[in-house]
């Protein structure tokens, strides 16, 4: 959703007569809002160092840490906004198992 398009009133969007009444939408609309395009740095998992403690999964504010069979299964970059909390909480020392790198 580009800001310029929305501010001009989105000619193709429904008008007030067509819109459902009030600011009431179907549930789970956050799924459609991909916060990944806010990112300037991306977390990258180091497979060799990760101990699968899943701290990053618990702390991630965007549920962008994927888990499969009880193990850290990578980052969903559609939603990861690059806040760096996963790197911050990673307990692996001296080098963290999730590190923020320049976003590509």
């Amino acid at each position: 959703m580009s800001e310029a398009k929305s501010a001009s009133g989105g000619a193709n969007e429904p008008g007030w007569k067509e819109l459902p009444q009030g600011d009431i939408l179907k549930a789970a609309t956050a799924l459609e809002f991909e916060t990944g395009d806010w990112r300037t740095k991306r977390p990258v998992k180091d497979d060799k160092l990760c101990i699968n403690c899943l701290f990053c999964y618990i702390y991630c504010p965007d549920s962008a840490v994927k888990v499969k069979d009880g193990k850290f299964d990578g980052i969903d970059y559609r939603y990861c906004k690059g806040c760096g909390i996963c790197e911050n909480v990673c307990p692996v020392k001296p080098v963290k198992a999730v590190r923020m790198e320049k976003d590509k």
């Binding site: 929305s6 501010a7 001009s8 009133g9 989105g10 969007e13 009444q21 600011d23 009431i24 789970a28």
Partner: protein
């Protein structure tokens, strides 16, 4: 069956709430509205209602909890006054934007500062642009009747807007009057069952309520509220008529009292109308063509209807029980005068700001206002368009 009882305004509003039997009431006490929810909480404790009563820690929370309960599909109510309403301000336009039909008794009291607990209309007048229906009551009977009608109006599928029903602090809220109360079954039948259009607890149809609404949708949602307020007008008349058929007292947007052939008239709201009627009768006995227009519904503002009722009168004095500090008179004055602008024939309209902070609006004040207005009707120019009556 009708029962004649003696009740104060607060008791009558609490009685109406008992009969409406809302699912949720969340409230915080504030003078002079405290009694409404205090009496109602006794009904809850005595098992006379099915209501979940939430004792919150502030009016901000009272309106938040009421809003949330309403969004969850409950018929939800609260009650407040003055500073309590001020503390609710943040939520009031959210309730209307979410189209939640909350009904709230509001006892008109001056807003601080300086701190004062007595009647004027500054609290609800300051909340007039929040998408709430505003219904004023002249006396205890009207307070009771308006509460019952407000539920129907607010919950009507064409409207779905919140409504506040006001009484004048202490003057109505604490004075004992003889009123007619209907039996519970008749009221239950009139009020009907609440069919919510929003239900947060319906797990089969999950919804998001109150999402961020930026440049591309906010405007459309506000346009919907504006339309709902227009659509409330025929609904208010329809329900006022139905109430009249069932209970013998019909209601419209306003009451015309000896107005049709009047040459000069007063426009006011609330308890002042009772005194003004006595003055009109007195003047009529002396052969003077005085009249009164008592506004009952201030939001939606019945612009065209008021203009039609006043256009053939020569001079009209509005009594504003609040000052908008606009340097151009009170809020009722600006709207009444604006309503007449497009009429070819129209009265001279002047404003009297009176009764702030519970200062009495006496019969003598109203007589003076009529006598000054009569002079304008006979051709004199008004000395000032906006005056203060009863101030030292």
């Amino acid at each position: 069956m009708t029962q004649i009882v003696a009740k104060t305004g607060n008791e009558a509003m609490a009685e109406a709430m008992r009969q409406i039997n809302p699912d949720v009431v969340a409230a915080y006490p504030i003078t002079p509205a405290t009694e409404i929810v205090m009496i109602f909480s006794q009904f809850v404790a005595d098992g006379l209602v099915d209501t979940e009563f939430v004792a919150v820690e502030s009016e901000h929370s009272a309106m938040s909890a009421t809003l949330a309960a309403s969004a969850a599909g409950a018929r939800a109510m609260t009650g407040t006054s003055s500073q309590g309403l001020c503390l609710m301000y943040e939520m009031l336009p959210i309730v209307s934007a979410l189209r939640l039909p909350i009904v709230m008794p509001e006892v008109n009291r001056a807003i601080s500062g300086p701190i004062n607990i007595h009647c004027d209309h500054s609290d609800t007048m300051a909340a007039r642009d929040f998408g709430w229906i505003h219904i004023f009551s002249e006396n205890t009977q009207e307070a009771y009747d308006n509460m019952l009608q407000a539920v129907r109006i607010a919950e009507h599928p064409d409207v779905k807007l919140p409504a506040m029903v006001t009484t004048d602090g202490f003057i109505i809220s604490h004075c004992l009057e003889k009123i007619e109360i209907q039996d519970d079954a008749t009221v239950k039948d009139f009020v009907g069952k609440f069919v919510p259009s929003t239900n947060l607890l319906d797990l089969n149809n999950p919804v998001t309520i109150g999402a961020l609404d930026l440049q591309n949708f906010y405007f459309e949602h506000k346009r919907q509220v504006a339309e709902a307020m227009k659509k409330a007008k025929p609904v208010i008349l329809e329900i006022g008529k139905e109430f009249g058929k069932k209970f013998g007292r019909e209601y419209g947007f306003f009451e015309k009292y000896r107005l049709d052939d009047a040459e000069f008239a007063v426009v006011c709201l609330g308890s002042t109308a009772g005194s003004a009627k006595a003055v009109v009768d007195d003047l009529r006995d002396k052969g003077k063509k005085a009249g009164l227009l008592k506004i009952r519904v201030f939001r939606p503002f019945p612009e065209e209807e008021i203009a039609q009722a006043l256009q053939n009168i020569k001079a009209v004095a509005v009594i504003d029980r609040s000052d908008g500090f606009a340097a151009t008179g009170g809020p009722v004055f600006s709207e009444v005068r604006s309503a007449l602008y497009d009429k070819k024939k129209k009265p001279v309209v002047v404003d009297y700001i009176a009764g702030l902070g519970g200062r009495e609006i006496t019969l003598a004040h109203i007589q003076e206002i009529f006598s000054e207005t009569e002079k304008i009707a006979s051709g004199q120019s008004p000395k000032e368009y906006v005056q203060y009556k009863g101030v030292r």
